[in-house]
Symmetry: none
Subunit: 242 residues, 4 copies
């Protein structure tokens, strides 16, 4: 290492400073971007909290159309917030997944709520493309990550057993059958996926408990003969519940 | 439940199946991409293990040029592997950070080894752009993440106290002074950065222990007068400190 | 430290190298064997996932013969995979239990599925020798470990409460009685075993919850007089359920 | 439930009982075998505790030949115990690895102690075949598992830093150099192995701390010039220590 002395480390030292000065800017920009993303994510979270509060009223058997009416005003707020998010991400092309962790959990909640609303309204699963539509997202520039969609749907599933219990309590004895059919199909569809041992897999594994709980409620209703009359006539989609 | 069969929610049901069929393809493609990335990462890991084995010989006072000569043959292998990695990532534009976790720890090790080699050879810090050059990376398409570079440099710093101890043991009493100067500058440069509470911050916090250990060795050497002669002539850089 | 080079502990040093060179080969062979075992185990896992998806249809009251027909095509695949596994293990005689951990959990799942199918078909427990037969195993060379068989049977038991609930829901009020008889006998048989405090013991402890749940369903059915008429005539094996 | 008695699924039921009766015998035999293995393992453990107590005296600078003399009487006990172990395992051919967990940790300790003794006596590494020789094992029937040997050697390495410190305290300033040479070679040999992420890998990772600690002690001795005189004359192997 004797030759170390001979070399004039003057220039290396200033190169070093220059490099770290660049890094400082880079990290600060990145941090400020993250801050802006987090700020929007917090606003999204705040809107989803509001939506969830409203939606909870369905457990108290409030008429679904009334509940959904209230909630729908919030959807445009969500749309606007995702528009802002997409705008921020447009500033750093190719870095969607770099900051993904900063908004994904909020997005999953959004999916679960939109999915639950859609199911209440139609009895069907809200599709991935439909979520993007509602949030004004374009896959090509700022899309909805598929795993986020799937995790959101699992969260939605977690809400269903409670809904079924409360509907039966309120006298809607046909609800368990319909939810069971929906959850069974959804569960079967998920089973087609070859999931890694990650969060999504864990959330999906939880779905089977929702399924079983709904089966148990359906069992309770059936064994008491509560669904005996009218099974054939009531069968007109889930709107009949409210 | 016989009526379940009779009910024709056929169109939603088949849309559902279609969607999950698409997801299955998507997840499988993503998984296979990840597998290919992991395979290359494992090869990188295997080359770095080889390089590290060679580099360890400097702790036994083997001549640096001899050690580096052996190692350099491996660098072209690394270059080729990163070329393959870049090729795989090119297939999925904008998803660098989606799979980043699958190669980043191996890349940090590569940085630490290249950095150590460069320091052994020149006494200077290997710059970010120099690492990219050596690995044949282009920032525009598949660059070296700055945090990976910085963490790799922290790992390199961890190697220095041991090197200093072994050099002094072998009679090189001037080594601590040089390493101390290098580490002090590096530590000061890092301090300019405003680090978040993450892995990089933790690794950087560890650097101060390297610095202290080298200071202690320098102290041991100085207090025993082992650097006494020649100090005045050799002192062309670090003078301010001692 | 220059004298280290000069010293000639050549012979011990080269013996050392030779030994570790042998170890390297040994560990690499062992690792490659393990890789091959894991690859087959993953294929087994993939087939069991398919089988399980099919079997789940019995919870929706699909006719048992139809469900089993679909599944049986997969059994020959399993047989072929276990044949491959046995072939790999034949390469390293006496090391069945060395690699046992690499396929045992998949094998337990296979036992649980075969057991469930057999029970659906006959109402009886699938014996250890019958599992070996179906999988083409020979105890003398690559047999089914008894604890794996027993744990698999415990997993099968976990499926029964759900089955009973869904059968009752579908109007098969005689199912609980039959399942209860089966589970009671099975539980009593397990109780004869002196189990250590290990996984098998834990899984067996869980079986009592299955038993209790089935007892409760049987109670629900009895207390409502749902099994009152025709008990004597319906008693023709489990096929009569659907 | 009276009709349960009337039902005659007698033949399946008695087959069931027969099978579980067989299992009971099987599990009891296996348990009793395990008990006998554990009993021998406990005796081995007790002898190793005795040996270790004796060996600890080398940290107090007792003459090595005296210490080893005391210990050697115990080796024949170990040999006898391993003979008994081999005898028990001979009763159940092909099940070495089934019960391996019941004696492996004790065996690793035996390796570490024999290895330490051998190193104290000769300065060299005790080979795998030498351990088998000393314990009267034959690879063909009841050999020493290679990973157990390697883990035992790692444990031995953990003892060396303490030994070096105490030897230097007692005035043997040449000890660090010899131990460092030994550990460096051993560490390099281990690095040739491609270790999985398991216990052995973890133990090996610990060896580098032993190496560094010995380097530090060597550094302390060198920097004080304590090894200055006589380096050339003392260099006659490790026997010169005592």
């Amino acid at each position: 290492m004797a030759d170390l002395e001979a070399k004039p480390p003057l220039s290396p030292s200033s190169t070093l400073e220059k490099q770290f000065e660049d890094f400082r800017h880079h990290l600060e920009e990145s941090e400020s971007l993250r801050e802006r993303i987090r700020a929007v994510a917090r606003e999204i979270e705040s809107v989803t909290r509001l939506i969830y509060s409203c939606l909870l009223l369905v457990h108290q058997s409030r008429p679904i159309p009334e509940v959904l009416e209230k909630v729908k005003a919030q959807i445009s707020k969500l749309k606007e917030l995702f528009h802002r998010l997409a705008g921020i991400l447009r500033e750093c092309p190719g870095q969607y997944y770099r900051y993904h962790g900063d908004w994904r959990s909020e997005t999953q909640t959004v999916v679960s709520l939109l999915g639950f609303m859609h199911w209440l309204e139609t009895g069907n699963l809200l599709m991935h493309t439909q979520v993007e539509e509602r949030l004004g997202l374009k896959t090509s520039e700022f899309g909805l990550d598929i795993e986020d969609y799937l995790i959101g749907i699992c969260f939605m599933s977690n809400e269903l057993p409670r809904y079924v219990v409360n509907q039966v309590t309120a006298g809607d004895y046909d609800c368990p059958r319909k939810v069971l059919k929906f959850l069974t199909d959804l569960h079967a569809a998920f089973r087609m996926l070859n999931l890694r041992n990650d969060l999504l897999r864990k959330k999906f594994d939880g779905m089977k408990y929702d399924l079983r709980r709904v089966e148990e409620v359906y069992y309770d209703v059936k064994i008491r003969g509560l669904t005996a009359n009218g099974d054939s006539t009531r069968d007109l989609g889930i709107q009949g519940q409210s």
